[in-house]
Symmetry: C2
């Protein structure tokens, strides 16, 4: 019998700086209900889905910065989400700012949690490719992720969700082929990706018309080249004066976009994913064990940039 898993990308429209967790969590629960009502059994929310995309600002007040993070997930404010998962029998991945202890000090990560359909946390991913800078840089759109987040320290974990192997990634991760490769090698069949992507960059006016193409191209190539189902989920629309790209989508292991958001607001994109297509694509296009040449790829794991 064919294996299927119905995936949902729960895109959100803009989230105001002033919005409180309760209001935001209510929106997310509503989207999760909508996904479940359309038959989805695994949903993905955006990166940093519980707040506005605060790395667009230089914020000096530490207490104010902390206000954009969770020191536990779930906590009182977010527990309605895990309770909804349990009640609706739908798993989800959710991006949020995480405060954690590590090596005796307090750390901040750009994190995504995977929650099972019993409402329990199956695992966490911490964004490996953190873009932007620590200080505002002349002539570029302010993007201070490297100020507010340490690079992830958990690698590219893959989790079991109802017998399907699921990996997670966040925003800039989706542009790097290594993300999908590591997930495939870790056994992933599905990649859930959340993002917040400015539509316009001060440093690249001549490339502005390519932003949606550059959103989809690496997800499509990553799906095709690694025979993965990919669900990409945007926070979209005009948020605090900054336009964020939408284009949330479910991409098949053929690289085709199977379903796509038609708005830059709250919207659920659903596709009943045929998991057997993974095997077909692996057999026809990519027999990894037979054809890859790992020993010839050493430079990929030895140096960052060109010689």
């Amino acid at each position: 019998m064919a294996r299927h898993l119905t995936l949902a990308a729960c895109q959100t429209g803009p989230i105001a700086r002033s919005a409180g967790r309760r209001e935001i969590v209510d929106r997310l629960v509503h989207l999760l209900e909508e996904a479940a009502s359309q038959g989805a059994s695994l949903a993905v929310f955006p990166e940093l889905a519980l707040t506005t995309f605060f790395p667009r600002w230089l914020i000096e007040d530490e207490a104010e910065i902390d206000g954009f993070y969770e020191d536990a997930f779930p906590n009182a404010a977010t527990r309605p989400l895990t309770e909804a998962a349990r009640k609706l029998r739908i798993g989800f991945a959710l991006g949020y700012g995480e405060i954690a202890q590590g090596d005796g000090r307090r750390r901040r990560y750009n994190t995504m949690a995977l929650v099972g359909d019993d409402g329990e946390v199956l695992g966490r991913y911490r964004k490996m490719h953190v873009p932007g800078s620590e200080e505002p840089e002349e002539g570029t759109t302010v993007h201070l992720e490297r100020r507010y987040f340490e690079p992830g320290d958990l690698g590219f974990p893959v989790f079991d969700y109802r017998g399907t192997r699921v990996g997670l990634a966040l925003c800039n991760d989706r542009r790097w082929p290594e993300t999908y490769r590591m997930l495939m090698l870790g056994g992933a069949e599905v990649a859930l990706i959340g993002y917040n992507t400015p539509l316009l960059l001060d440093e690249a006016p001549a490339l502005a018309h390519l932003r949606m193409f550059h959103n989809h191209l690496p997800m499509q190539a990553g799906a095709y080249q690694n025979t993965l189902w990919v669900a990409g989920c945007a926070k979209a629309g005009l948020e605090e004066g900054q336009a964020l790209i939408g284009g949330s989508c479910i991409v098949a292991p053929t690289g085709e976009i199977a379903a796509q958001a038609m708005s830059v607001g709250d919207e659920v994109v659903v596709h009943r994913a045929d998991l057997d297509l993974i095997d077909t694509c692996r057999r026809v296009n990519f027999d990894f064990d037979r054809y890859r040449r790992p020993a010839a790829y050493r430079m990929i794991s030895e140096r960052a940039g060109p010689v």
Copy 2:
């Protein structure tokens, strides 16, 4: 002053099994003249450009097999090509079957040579990802590259052509993200790729409509994700009863197809490539030194398939 290099993909139509080297080389010289007349200074020919795509047959006669290879390049039959390069001041990359000595025995490789605009060979690449099988396999289109070619043993070399760093790849190589990554890390700015790709595969009738998409997608992603100019060149059309895909193209470091073949016959595709676009894309999209995480990618160079 902006740096430019005018690239040409010299696509060929089918080559009959009965065609002799002289006739074929004449066709290639004509294409090189056409490329030069359109201002190109570096051209790419298809994979195995000097013969029909013989891996579609099980051939037992060793002398007949040898007839599809060169034991030297250039030799008497192919020297008109290197002489044309010198006369026209245009470099080129050409795919051919290579017979070589290595570790005390005779070896066969699927090779591409890069020739400078002085007609001298700048270097060679031997196909790293050799697809197909050693024996015909039930239910699949006969594709015996692994019978006729050893996997390449030269890695992913990058050569200097008139101050531009140029890498080479062949056919199936273009589907693997590691090919482009290794070339980028080796300093490449331009990747020249030749291919022979059957339009239809017995094993994948349901994916037949995706063959051109799967031709372009990995070249576009490889160009974008590695900020390379990519020139892909097909042997195309109905060759000995087998339809080969065309779609020869020049792809920009933005991932856009800048120029594309409109036929499945002999056709020259030309684009004046702005090499400065590489730096723009690297600065805006991919600052490799700053953002890649090589130590986290070890599995890519340690294992071939999923755990």
